[in-house]
């Protein structure tokens, strides 16, 4: 919009500040609560540290000294589950995306060509996970995959893969075929052309699907709750478990939540532009 009046400018800033407050205040609250004494929490909302209440380090000391090794173990589980499934989704997603973008397929038995296959792949992403609760429980129990890292990694890969294929196909469609052709004229094989020419050029797309896969798997709750019970428990399940174990100890939960939220928020904020471009590729052209 072009017309700028003082009133309009004022309104814009007022609204931006208002919504920033709505977004940021909960995080401020989370941080301050982790420094409050139990009494300061139960006495009702106290806002400003050093003014309304005296901050204390005891909960953080407890988190690090007493709970440190437990939290670290679950943190590691989250990293393994999210990292592992991200790697698989990126590799297989890039491969399938490249195939769908560069070759012509025709699956005679179902009568699908490239678009049909791509649509089938993305449609898997929108099936409600509840449908898989029972079969996953039974299959995982039968094969001894409950409470293992590989079990979670595979389950998350299945969720991340459709979106990865979809975005990468779109990305490869945007890369000119000539580059590979000239590489192949120079004697490179199809695979070499893919690895040496195409993949390096598709870094933005690869970064985008990595972020999506990682954030999704890191935050995932239903499958982590269902498929783990001790060894492989991830951070969201650990946090949700604080609900029943010990009543609600907000000061403790706040610290724990911050630990769980921080990595993805930092990754997300640093790589924000990839998220936007990736989502656009996935949503608009789909």
């Amino acid at each position: 919009m072009v017309r700028r009046t003082p009133l309009r400018t004022f309104m814009v800033y007022a609204l931006v500040l208002f919504w920033s407050f709505i977004v940021l205040f909960p995080f401020f609250w989370l941080i301050t609560t982790s420094f409050k004494t139990p009494l300061a929490v139960t006495r009702g909302p106290l806002y400003l540290p050093w003014v309304d209440f005296d901050p204390t380090m005891v909960h953080w000391e407890y988190l690090v000294d007493e709970q440190g090794s437990t939290i670290l173990r679950h943190f590691r589980n989250s990293v393994i589950a999210a990292g592992g499934s991200t790697v698989l989704a990126v590799i297989f997603g890039a491969m399938a995306g490249y195939g769908l973008s560069r070759f012509k397929y025709h699956w005679k038995r179902v009568g699908w060509r490239n678009d049909g296959i791509a649509f089938w792949i993305i449609s898997n992403r929108f099936l409600p996970p509840a449908v898989f609760v029972v079969p996953f429980l039974m299959i995982y129990t039968t094969f001894g995959m409950i409470d293992t890292h590989i079990g979670l990694i595979l389950a998350y890969t299945m969720f991340n893969l459709p979106f990865a294929v979809w975005i990468m196909r779109d990305f490869f469609n945007g890369l000119p075929q000539d580059l590979e052709d000239s590489a192949r004229v120079d004697g490179a094989s199809r695979l070499q052309a893919f690895l040496r020419i195409v993949l390096p050029l598709s870094t933005p797309g690869l970064v985008a699907i990595s972020i999506f896969s990682f954030i999704f798997s890191w935050n995932e709750f239903l499958y982590a709750l269902m498929l783990t019970n001790f060894d492989a428990i991830t951070l969201p399940v650990l946090i949700a478990g604080q609900n029943t174990n010990r009543g609600v100890e907000w000061w403790f939960i706040s610290g724990l939540t911050l630990i769980a939220v921080l990595p993805v928020v930092v990754i997300g904020l640093m790589l924000e532009r990839f998220i936007t471009s990736g989502l656009m590729a996935g949503a608009v052209k789909g």
């Binding site: 940021l24 070759f103 509840a130 039974m138």
Partner: protein, 298 residues
Amino acid sequence: MKQAFLLPAVFILLAFVIFPLLWSLGISFTDVQRGGSPGGGGFLGLGFNFTGRNYARLLTDQRLHIAMRNTVFFVFFGVALQYVLGLVLALLLDQPFKGRNLARVVFLLPMMTTPVAVGYLGRMFFDPARSPIADLFRRVPSWFGADPIFVPWLTEPAYARWTIVLIESWQWAPFMTLLLLAGLQAIPRELYEAARVDGAGSLQIFRSIIFPLLLPISVTTILIRGLEIFKIIDIIVVSTGGGPGSSTESLTMYVFRTALTFGNYGYAASIAFVLLVLVVLFTTGFLFLARLITPKVS
């Protein structure tokens, strides 16, 4: 050779989506419990008796009907609120102002936050006594000499459903903002200029240029968000636990409880297919409506 590129992805989807889906459909016609079946057991619980009992029970299960109603409620009002909020925020971020890039990043923050954490935040903020929101509802009326207002955000069914929608929207309105903003920025500025020259006001420009041009992306975002809200569980588990009673329980949560808490695999599978049918109905119905409104949507 070319099939090799697709092979791993297709194999994973067949093994982890198609096979479980068909398996689950079969299970929904049995009385399999956790640890096997009354009629059999062994590998994957094979050797069970087939029965239509689960589907008969769906018709009379009050708790299921509540969960269905809740899920549709969350989807409908969640999508509506998130679309309106997302559109307002996208229009805001489309204005030129200092610090716009920073604001865009800040607005995205909730989307990246772990939903379980968002559920806890919701519980802290909608606590009837000790939360900043309760404080707000106590203080503001007193400035006008009125009595403090007490709102049972999470403890009264009629309020709790709305509170869930509010919490879910705080987290996901940014998703709408992100995509709608990209849609806004793809609109050529000359269109605005031309309309201004013709004497159109801001509201008119919105109605006759911005909104129609945003329709295709609006359809996509609403569809994606709708499908995602059908899966809602984590925020509810942590903020209300489905309560009071089962008044905020979603279908996914009911499936999960039936399978894990009650161990009734057969019935849980049949509930899951109710959810799947709802999702398919929503998708086809919505796309049909969208086609009526926008001829261009593919």
